[in-house]
Amino acid sequence: MNFSYCRLGSLSLVLWLTGCQPVTVSNSSQGLVYCAEGSPESFNPQLVTSGTTIDAISQHLYDRLLDIDPDSGDLLPALAQQWQVSPDGLTYRFKLRPNVSFHQTDYFTPGRYFNAEDVVFTFNRMLLVEHPFFQTATEYPYFDSIEWRHRVKSITALSADEVEFRLNQPDSSFLSVLATDFAAILSGEYGAQLVAKQQKPLLDTQPIGTGPFKFRQYQKDVLIRYYRHDGYWRQHGDLQQLVIDIVPDNTKRLAKLLTRECDIAPIPRLAELQMFSKRPDFKVEQQTSMNVAFWAFNTQKAPFDRVEVRQALALAINKLTILQAVYFGQAEEANSVLPPNSWAYRKQSLSQSFDPAKAKELLRQAGYPDGFSIDIWAMPVQRLYNPNAQKMAELIQADLRAIGVKARVVSYEWNTFRRKLRQGEHDSVLIGWSADNADPDNFLRPLLSCAAAVSGSNRANWCDEHFDQFIAGAVQTTDTTQRRSYYLAAQQYLQQQMPLVPIAHSKRFQVKNSSVQGVTINPYGGISLVHAGKTP
């Protein structure tokens, strides 16, 4: 009698458990869930540089004048159908695509198609102080770093479908700038409407673009919801809804992938890639990204102002161990700041590899036979180019001990870290760079030019007129062979001077549910879901 209760109980438990069929939580094949690692800082790509924000907003909401072919790095027509460069390289004329419609949402109904006014509105914002929206943002980080106001003289609409950019000097990287995710085209009509309503800040928080999805809802730290833009000018997948679920915790993001609460998740931990690559229901996608992790020396401080010292430190570290321990083999050893898939890449001679004996000798020559102490600043956050700076710093610390240099690993909270870096308080720092476009200029100028040393993105605080001449010469010609020779010279010069030690070019990974197709990872920027679809 008493037994039967127990049996009944366990039986019903078993029945209840087996009665449930495995459920798909995101059961609609019309919607896709992308699990992002953080909240976006803004909904306007002009105002940000963080990869997280770019992934979450730029390719979904906006179009650019030009696109970059993810495979070849060539420029493709997008909102601009054709373009012409004047023989002196100072004038760029774009013929715009007709019948491109902006998003229609609760807060804006477009009254006209996309035209030259929108282009002028978009790019004058960063150029002209009298532009109604110039003051609404404190800075335009990408455009400031490439000295937009210096480069561009004027932007004029020649007719409704033709736009002309006039530059101050020839600049062969200019088209690449227009193809970056930051050069998203905004709606001038929407801007005018906001000015009339005196709601200017909304331009950057309630976005209107021409992209494949339109904005619907945003809850900070929870989710972003986009709806399909039905009048999109390109062919696009049949997704009705795109939800960006914000899951900062790495483990939770992976768990959500496993339970199908997420369809795609970026930056999985390299250690867990193995598990996903074995399962048939998931697909791991990788792409060699245009990025570099490096160890920069503060060349304004002794003893790092000495070339021999920098050379010695570069020779002392074993990059192969770092590749194994930090990247789990999922990265390429870096010989130059430029990644090997860049057209201006120069294969370096092997003399630069790991050689502690020679490093010691160089230190002796420089007058430091007994070594010295050095602080290595390791960034406290995980980034695509460097998944674990702390570990990398510890490995370098061990390598340096072998040549008699005492290293101390230092880290601060991320905002403090960046502020102190800008103020040049570091000895050396482990950090990196992800490219925004395929142009080599995008690596060399923001990282090592004198202008960047002033604006703070030059972590080596290195200002060298020879080097600046090389990169300035390279953008003043459009002849690729000639440009290449400038860049090769610049890279050779860098190898001699060694203001920073390039360490690795990491690959970009994301894991997706096998039922999702048509996702493109762009080596220069955000993820694109234009053609994405789901098989039920």
């Binding site: 008493n2 495995p22 059961n27 768990a255």
Partner: protein
């Protein structure tokens, strides 16, 4: 008689609230940072506004006056701004509180519906295998930490079996605007979605947190009901009833159960504070957007106005529920009224 009892209780309630507000008010002084910032939630206050705020907050007057002004603002709904979002904390709490109440209410119901029958069964079938099974399970459940249980369940039901989602209240693809904050009501009010699919998704999301949150109170309830019932069954009036010739079931339900359940009403109130504490843990583990998670985030962010307001709301809730169950207990129990 009852009225004077109620009056006494209300007086006590008022006294407890005074003590609570005094404590929360004093936190403004005890927290690090600027007093005006702590009280209003404003940051980087300019000297002029500082002056005005000092007037408004009665900071130029005695502590007693400041406390009065503080209470006046509380009653007017002016609870200051959150440091993190610069939104009024009260409206933020109103957004997250329903989620917690919902979770706690379902867990409480579950613990009553499962705990009381099992406890009774254990008492009636004293010294049988069934009783030992129930008591054993109750003891294990009682001693298992809730976060550990939650993680094990996520491992099993979400990651291994893939039956239940790991976090949130609803599949993110369902667009359900927050109107009341209670998910099922909101689903009913939402347009353009498949309501049945959304409700099913909400149910799946609710299942694991509710069961896990209910685990501890259920087991307390089982043990409590069992002990209480056993005590009642020893009473003389039960023997009398049996001797009168009433059937076993009549004795149990009419004389045993009623008397055994009286202390349970009181127990519900006592369990409520534990339940809220456990709900906070559960919310963090399951990313449940309730007040617990909100409060814990506020602590991480050193968001003092939010910590104060959260403390005030949660404590008031617990005090009110306690008081209510106490009063109910007294109303149902003539013996208690005599004291």
């Amino acid at each position: 008689m009852i009225l004077s009892y109620l009056a006494r209780r209300l007086f006590l309630l008022g006294f407890v609230f005074v003590a609570l507000t005094v404590f929360v008010f004093s936190l403004n002084y005890l927290f690090p940072g600027d007093l005006v910032s702590n009280l209003t939630g404003l940051r980087d206050i300019s000297p002029q506004t500082q002056q005005q705020l000092q007037q408004l907050l009665a900071l130029d007057q005695s502590l007693w006056q400041q406390y009065i002004a503080y209470n006046r603002r509380l009653l007017a709904g002016d609870w200051g701004l959150s440091f993190a979002s610069q939104q009024p904390v009260l409206s933020e709490i109103m957004q997250v509180l329903p989620a917690t109440l919902e979770l706690a209410a379902y867990a409480l119901c579950l613990s009553l519906f499962a705990g009381i029958p099992l406890g009774l069964l254990a008492a009636v079938k004293k010294d049988s295998l069934l009783e030992r099974c129930i008591s054993g399970i109750a003891l294990i459940g009682y001693s298992m930490p809730v976060f550990w249980l939650a993680l094990i369940c996520i491992m099993l039901f979400s990651l291994q079996l893939g039956w239940l989602p790991t976090s949130g209240r609803l599949g993110v693809l369902f667009e359900v605007p927050t109107q009341t904050g209670f998910i099922f009501v909101d689903i009913l009010l939402a347009d353009h979605i498949s309501r049945s699919a959304a409700a099913y998704s909400a149910l799946l999301h609710l299942a694991m947190p509710t069961v896990i949150l209910a685990a501890y109170p259920t087991n307390v309830m089982i043990r409590f009901v069992r002990t209480s019932m056993l005590e009642v069954l020893e009473q003389n009036y039960i023997k009398t009833a049996r001797a009168k010739g009433l059937s076993r079931s009549q004795v149990l339900y009419r004389h045993g159960l009623r008397n055994a359940l009286l202390p349970v009403t009181r127990q519900v109130g006592l369990q409520f504070s534990t339940l809220i504490t456990l709900a906070m843990l559960t919310e963090v583990i399951f990313s449940w957007p309730g007040i617990g998670q909100w409060l814990i985030n506020s602590i991480y962010q050193r968001n003092y106005p939010a910590i104060q307001a959260g403390l005030l709301v949660v404590s008031s809730l617990v005090i009110c529920v306690n008081m209510l169950t106490e009063i109910l207990h007294t109303l149902f129990n003539p013996l208690a009224r005599k004291h």
